[in-house]
Amino acid sequence: MTTDALAMTQLVQVHGQRAYLAALCILRNEEEARDAAQESFILAFRNLHRYDRERPFYPWLHRIVRNHCIDRLRKRREVLDDTASITLPDWRFGPEEEVASTQTAVAVNKAMATLSDEYREILVLRHFQDLSYPEIAEALEIPEGTVMSRLYRARKALRSAMLKGGWTRNDSETME
């Protein structure tokens, strides 16, 4: 294996999961998300000279994935509406919490599916991918203040969608 191929493999191993999830949230199709993630890695690799090595890598890669996915949507001239049949990442609790938490997991996943792309994206980055505020700001190309205000609105929307779906706080308290 050449040095380039080895470097590419390492990048995919470290950031592949995040890149794939980001693509899946936008494209909502597993096969296309895999394809888009592959192409984004190649684009990133070709443009490595533009990457500032002082900064974290993932936010930069996220921008590439995001722009690439938006380009793909434009090319197929398809605007996904919220009622479309969609594939989104399914979030679950660990096996030790499995029985009591099913209702909450269903509520979270259903609520996530009803959110706008903007809210879903920032929640995935913060809650499930654990990016810091500066990293989210860089990934989404928005100021840090906007990250906080968008997170605030997204969390409110998530909570209200969960409650609207019939979930109550007691559902999750039974598992604590």
């Binding site: 191993q13 794939y20 990442p89």
Partner: protein, 146 residues
């Protein structure tokens, strides 16, 4: 809603996400003691965060990562193969053309024709590359099927 409530939204997010300074935490505590609606909202946010913190994606990422990795490597190899084949073809064509042009046994008309064809092709390639570099990144109509 007071302006402190507006500020409290930011403090709440910072505290929930463990990105708050001691001053932010102190300011939020002080505000929550005097504002019941913000206190209730903060409890809700914290609860939602606790729930999602314990959740993980149910996908089997090993297979997906393998597929991405092998796909990326295959694409890199394909583009390298295209590059090498293209360069090799260009080298052979150019070498043969120069050979023919310098061969005095070939009629002059054919040699002039080959020179014109070669120059025309070169200009065509240069202009196409220049056009793509100039317009492609900014072309607002590039998604339109022509």
């Amino acid at each position: 809603m007071s302006s402190t409530c507006d500020q409290a939204k930011e403090w709440m997010m910072r505290v929930i996400d463990h990105q708050a300074s001691a001053e932010h935490r102190q300011a939020l505590d002080t505000h929550l003691q005097s504002c019941q609606s913000c206190a209730a909202e903060f409890a809700d946010f914290r609860h939602t965060k606790d729930v999602t913190d314990r959740m993980r994606s149910s996908m089997e990422f090993d297979a997906i990562l393998d597929a991405i990795e092998s796909g990326v490597l295959a694409r890199v190899q394909r583009s390298l193969a295209w590059l090498l084949s293209g360069a090799g073809l260009m080298l052979i064509v150019c070498w043969s053309l120069v050979d023919v042009l310098l061969d005095e046994s070939v009629p002059m008309a054919i040699r002039i024709g080959i020179s014109m064809l070669g120059t025309g092709s070169l200009l065509f390639i240069i202009e196409t590359v220049r056009w793509r570099r100039r317009t492609a990144p900014h072309d607002p109509y590039r998604s339109v099927i022509r």
